[in-house]
């Protein structure tokens, strides 16, 4: 620590060069932070303590195949199931048919299964009391600038009403919010399943999928098997999995985010190592005589090695910290601009640890060669300029 001022002075010996290099490093770590935030946001999808407690039961044939409503009572009777709700995909769009909004028709007890979603009690009461009421996630409210009490026309891409029109009118009665807007309900619209079923002639009491909450997470596997056994060999075989597994399955099908992020980061850091490595080589080469002086006045070989290594690590750390801090500043903008694609993009402790670890590792890798060179320096030759 006592050599910090010496390292610092060496680092900023050539201000332009160090600053130019620093900007490159900042750019690399900015990219690392952003991509890692995206990766984490996808990897974490559905991963919450509550998510593990919930089981999703859908048709084994395909996820668009409906299930009979009677199955709900049977699922509720399975030992260890606390509560069962059912949901239908509504296929809502706002203003333009291509402007999709996640819209679900849900059973009255749906919200009880999602304790992490909060709705003010009086709004919940208002929702229960109305026929055509909807609850809207806070992010959607923000996006379209809606207020409680607004009349919202939505188009269903699938279901017409009795007259054959696919334009549905709803009254916005409440807002769903969650901590850090993390729950997917923050970007979803909910309507009454009863309203949905009675208005469209095409549903006829069918249910898209069931969500059940279990008492004990450790029993989930057994419960899932028992639920699937209920309709084995019928014409509506089911497939039950935890909400977490279901979400991750979707994300995996979307894209191999991990692979894309890793390959981009590989290219970025490979370039960075070369670029910064070159800077360090230059820095040591032009300081040959200074390093020789240091050795002359008594610095040991290892401490010269340490000084140069510390210099390159410090350079990387400076750039890394600035880059990652920039991400913390940019992440909220990214979240709001991505229109719900990326939720909760922020630099978590994990990303910070990995970023700083990478900075130190790269610092050592690129510092090693110049540092060895400095260590092996022969004082007489160096001072003579040979």
């Amino acid at each position: 620590m006592k050599y910090l001022h010496l390292i610092w002075a060496a680092l900023f010996r050539r201000k332009t060069r160090t600053i130019l290099t620093l900007v490159s490093i900042v750019a690399a770590f900015l990219l690392f932070g952003l991509l890692d935030a995206v990766r984490v946001s996808f990897a974490d999808a559905g991963k919450s303590a509550n998510g593990a407690e919930r089981l999703q039961t859908g048709a084994r044939l395909s996820f668009i195949q409906p299930l009979p409503q009677g199955l709900g009572a049977k699922i509720a009777a399975v030992k260890g199931v606390k509560d069962v709700a059912y949901v239908n995909w509504f296929g809502g769009a706002y203003q333009d048919p291509h402007n999709q909004v996640f819209t679900f028709a849900v059973s009255p007890n749906y919200l009880d299964i999602y304790p992490e979603v909060t709705v003010p009690p009086e709004q919940r009461k208002a929702f229960d009391a109305t026929q055509d009421g909807i609850l809207v996630g806070e992010l959607i409210m923000q996006k379209y600038g809606w207020k409680v009490g607004d009349k919202i026309p939505l188009q269903s891409q699938i279901f017409p009403d009795k007259t054959g029109s696919k334009n549905w009118n709803f009254e916005l009665v409440g807002v769903m919010s969650s901590k850090d807007q993390k729950a997917f309900q923050s970007q979803m619209i909910m309507l009454h399943w009863k309203n949905f079923d009675e208005t469209t002639p095409y549903n006829q009491g069918q249910v898209g999928w069931y969500v059940s909450r279990v008492n004990d997470v450790n029993q989930s596997d057994r419960i899932a098997k028992e639920i699937d056994a209920l309709s084995a060999n019928s014409d509506h075989e089911t497939k039950t999995q935890s909400e977490q597994a279901a979400t991750q399955n979707w994300v995996k099908q979307m894209a191999d985010i991990g692979l894309i992020v890793t390959s981009i980061m590989g290219a970025v850091f490979f370039t960075l190592v070369l670029l910064t490595g070159n800077t360090m080589m230059q820095a040591v080469r032009e300081r040959t005589s200074e390093l020789a002086v240091l050795k002359t006045i008594g610095f040991s070989n290892t401490s010269v090695l340490g000084l140069v290594l510390a210099e390159s690590v410090l350079l990387l750390l400076l750039g890394g910290v600035v880059g990652l801090s920039l991400v913390s500043f940019l992440a909220p903008i990214l979240t709001s601009r991505s229109g719900g694609m990326i939720t909760h993009a922020s630099v978590g402790a994990g990303s910070w640890a990995m970023g700083i670890g990478l900075a130190v590792a790269i610092g050592i890798v690129i510092g090693l060669l110049p540092a060895m060179r400095a260590m092996r320096l022969n004082i007489v030759d160096a001072l003579a300029g040979r």
Binding site: T16, R17, L20, T21, V23, S24, I25, A27, A28, L30, L31, L34, L35, A59, R60, L61, S62, F63, I64, Q65, G91, A93, P97, H98, Q100, Q155, Q157, I158, G164, K166, Y202, N233, S234, D235, E237, K239, Q241, A245, N249, W250, K252, Q253, M254, A255, D256, I264, A267, V268, F270, T271, L272, L274, L275, N278, T279, M281, Q282, M341
Partner: protein, 439 residues
């Protein structure tokens, strides 16, 4: 004064980059020819050429630092080209699926096939519309199709857990005539009336058990895979079976999701659409398949392009500073040499131009290298995603098209332009006496 000059250079850099990025290849060619003529015909041009020649010939002595520019830019270009090739491949695959002389009919206001339902009667009415090509037996080439989603275990995954979604298309005999590009490459076609299906070669690559002769389970029914087909478009990701079997199996009866019709020529589309639009028995949307499939790809390919450009821009910033660093160092080591040139009568412009040329040459090498890497690794690389507007995985190939490579090359030159401009101006403006005294 210094600030003013810095500002002017900055504006010049921005303008230069903007021009680079907009310019079509013809424009670039004209610029190149003009530059060559200038270097051959004018005195200053010849001075530039000789200074540049000296710079280039000493490149081998600065191999390490020159490599920084080349490799830095190669990295940017490789990532950018790979992302653009992904977007390009995705939209290309969907666009190839459609053509101007085939029409797709969906129920009104359905944005995609899966969300549409057409009753059997409606499908029959559509068959009688004008402008449809007739086959040898005089039957119109119209194919009412039923698209549903099926769950299949993914290749290389846990067969109990890792399921993916694949689109199962129930078709009739006319579907093969409608899509002449679809050819059986292994096994045979499915037999109508049986639980048999053919799998696209993209689906085969993605899902387990899709081999001719093998049996797969969809729900509680067992289907036989009769063969594999290839059509080199989005259909490659699907399973095809007899619509008469798919309908009951998925409890859809005789209804279909969409009707495809082969028209006599692209001009027949307007009357075809008008005829269906004015029919009181129908409430349908009619589009050409080209428009339909292009629209499906729009959102996703735009998103990939934007991500590519954002990532590319951040990387480019890093590379610009790397190039600046290298060129400043190069100018500093050659300060005396440049000052000598200027002392014996070389003007500022040739010095600036020569250093710019040197940087851009390195940038060009980097751009070509990056493009080549992207091409070698990613051209034809297969990826898959859940496509917008379908319920199944869409398999597509990265397409490193010349247009994509050209964009990468332009980015490389733009980075080289900025990276060379500032050091070049500095070299030209350094007072000769100071520079000569240096070191």
């Amino acid at each position: 004064m210094n600030f003013l000059i810095g500002f002017v250079i900055f504006i010049a850099a921005i303008l230069g980059v903007a021009i680079f990025l907009i310019l079509p290849w013809q424009g670039m060619l004209v610029l190149l020819v003009l530059l060559a003529l200038w270097m051959l015909l004018t005195r200053r041009g010849r001075q530039t050429a000789s200074v540049a020649a000296v710079g280039v010939s000493t490149l081998t002595q600065r191999l390490g630092s020159s490599a920084v520019i080349v490799i830095g830019i190669a990295g940017v270009v490789a990532v950018l080209v790979a992302m653009l090739a992904m977007a390009n491949g995705y939209s290309e695959t969907l666009r190839r699926t459609g053509s101007e002389d085939t029409a797709i009919v969906l129920r009104g206001a359905s944005s995609a096939e899966v969300s549409s339902v057409l009753e059997h009667d409606a499908a029959v009415v559509i068959t009688q519309a004008p402008g449809i090509v007739k086959d040898d037996q005089g039957k119109p080439i119209v194919s009412p199709e039923l698209v549903v989603a099926a769950n299949l275990p993914l290749k290389g995954g846990d067969p109990d857990k890792d399921f993916g979604s694949v689109q199962l298309r129930g078709i009739g005999e006319q579907a093969w005539k409608l899509r002449p590009s679809a050819k059986i490459i292994a096994g045979r076609k499915f037999e109508p009336g049986k639980y048999e299906l053919v799998a696209g070669k993209g689906a085969q690559r993605q899902f387990a058990g899709l081999e001719p002769g093998k049996q797969i389970k969809l729900g509680n029914q067992t289907w036989t895979v009769a063969g594999i087909f290839a059509s080199n478009d989005a259909m490659d990701s699907e399973l095809w079976a007899d619509a008469q079997i798919v309908g009951p199996a998925y409890r859809r009866g005789a209804s279909s999701t969409s009707v495809f019709a082969k028209l006599t020529n692209p001009a027949a589309f307007a009357p075809f659409k008008a005829a269906l639009g004015s029919d009181p028995r129908l409430q349908v949307d009619v589009t050409t398949t080209l428009e339909y499939f292009s629209k499906q790809s729009e959102g996703t390919s735009k998103a990939i392009t934007i991500i590519g450009i954002v990532v590319g821009t951040i990387m480019a910033i890093g590379a610009v500073f790397g190039a600046l660093n290298t060129m400043f160092a190069a100018v500093a080591t050659r300060a005396r040499e440049i000052a000598t040139l200027r002392a014996i009568g070389f003007r500022g412009l040739p010095v600036v131009m020569a250093i710019m040329l040197e940087t851009m040459l390195l940038a060009l090498v980097g751009g070509v290298l990056g493009g080549a890497i992207a091409w070698l690794i990613f051209n034809g690389y297969t990826a898959s995603t859940l496509a917008a507007g379908t319920t199944g995985q869409l398999t597509f190939e990265f397409n490193v098209a010349p247009s994509v490579l050209w964009i990468g090359l332009k980015w490389a030159l733009a980075i080289g332009f900025i990276g060379g401009l500032f050091p070049a101006v500095r070299a030209a403006r350094l007072p000769v006496t100071t520079a000569l005294r240096e070191l």
